[in-house]
Structures are given as structure tokens and as C-alpha cells.
């Protein structure tokens, strides 16, 4: 289980290759990668220049660990790797990756979706979009909370 919060870009192939090293029981790896879009979803006329990502050192790591533990209690997993960038990000750069390894694909698919759904609502990160016109903190989406709630209905 690895949690990584960093400013620099990450290399997904390298992470997967390290994850598979000496683990012949891994039969499936599912990865989710989130990228910085180059436009603001609400006002398409704005051109995004930069995204600033803030987090709560200490609490963010704890929250991510809790999500990983929760996923591991629901599915049999070989490994989980969560990486999230902070600081200044630019359009088309990756923000986040959730990589889940399991023996069979079903567990990896479901756990990966579960982890990113909970990360969206429970891990303290905040995005600020800096466009050619203004700087705005991104507002949370009701859909993200609905996604998280749907897991509770299915699993609890």
C-alpha cells in the first residue's frame, strides 16, 4: 500500500512496473488517471492557464490511508497505489492516479472506482483554476457525493 503526495510529475508505467515486481499473484491491474483539462467546464470561453492544488499535510495522508483500508476490507487486493499531485499544475498534466492490483479484474475494477469516488469527497485537496480571466476555487459537485453515497448503499 503506497500513498504519495508530490509536486512533480509521475510516471505511471514505472509505478506499475514496480508494483508488479516479485508479485506473480497479480493477475489484473486497473488504473485511473485524472488530468487537468484545458478549459473550465462551466464557462467554455475561459482558457485555463494553471491549476493550484492545496492539501492538508497530515490529514490528507490519513484520509487516503483510511480509504485504502476501507477498499481492502471490501475486496481482496494485492496492492494499492495512490498518487496525488499538489502545487502548480498545467493543462494536460496528470493530477491523480489510483492503481489497484488484484488476482482477478473484477476486484481491481471495483476497488479502483471506490477509491477515486471516496478520494473526491473525503481526502482534503482543493483546486483553484487560474484562467486568462480570473482565479476561482473549484466548487464541489453534488454528483461526487451521490457517487460516494451509492457505495454505502451497495456495501453497508
Amino acid at each position: 500500500m503506497t500513498i504519495c503526495i508530490q509536486k512533480k510529475l509521475f510516471n505511471i508505467e514505472k509505478i506499475i512496473s514496480n508494483l508488479r515486481k516479485n508479485k506473480p499473484t497479480i493477475g489484473a491491474i486497473v488504473s485511473f488517471i485524472g488530468y487537468v483539462r484545458d478549459y473550465n467546464k462551466d464557462i467554455n470561453t475561459k482558457k485555463l492557464k494553471q491549476m493550484d492544488l492545496e492539501y492538508y499535510p497530515g490529514m490528507t495522508e490519513k484520509a487516503l490511508t483510511k480509504i485504502e483500508i476501507s477498499a481492502k476490507s471490501r475486496w481482496v487486493l494485492e496492492d494499492v497505489y495512490i498518487i496525488h499531485r499538489v502545487g502548480k499544475l498545467f493543462p494536460n498534466e496528470p493530477i491523480v492516479a489510483v492503481i489497484v492490483a488484484s488476482q482477478h479484474r473484477k476486484n481491481a475494477f471495483e476497488a479502483c472506482e471506490f477509491i477515486i469516488d471516496f478520494l473526491k469527497t473525503d481526502a482534503p485537496f482543493w483546486k483553484k483554476e487560474i484562467s486568462d480571466q480570473d482565479e476561482l476555487w473549484v466548487e464541489n459537485r453534488i454528483e461526487d457525493h451521490q457517487k460516494k453515497t451509492s457505495w454505502n448503499i451497495k456495501n453497508d
Binding site: 485524472g34 492538508y56 490519513k62 478520494l119 473526491k120 485537496f125 482543493w126 476555487w137 466548487e139 464541489n140
Partner: protein, 86 residues
Amino acid sequence: MKINILFFAGIREMFGFHEKSIEIEESKNSPEKLLKFLSEKDQGSWVKLLNSKDSVRVAINQEVSDWSDSLKDGDELAFFPPITGG
């Protein structure tokens, strides 16, 4: 008692700083009581924070908490907007 207050994202920008350590009497032992007290005493951004309370989240010692949860000496109290990571 001593409480270390942290501010994040838009709330940090509103206050103009990230961290503030305060000495406060024992009776202000919840985020709600503390915020009401500070908004009366110091006004400014504390009033704005109180007025937008419904869209502000609190964490005590790095755990998401309720406005009525109890605070004790040495606690870390954080105010932040809804989470938007990922």
C-alpha cells in the same frame, strides 16, 4: 486553553494567513462556540466565516468533525471549504 487554528484554500485567502494560535477560555469548547466568540471579539474575517458556516467544514486533530464537537487544550482546529481533489 490553547487552540491551533488552520485555514485552507479560499478561507486561508480570506484571512490572509494559514495558521493562528489562540488562547481562549475553557467555555469556548467547540468550533461553533469558538467561532461565535471570535466573530464578536475580532470581527472581520471571523464574521464572514460565521456567516458562511453552512459551507465550511471543520476538522479537529485532522479528523472531520461537527461544529458542536468538543475542543480541548492543545487541539488543532481546521476550517476549510468542501473538498475538490481528484
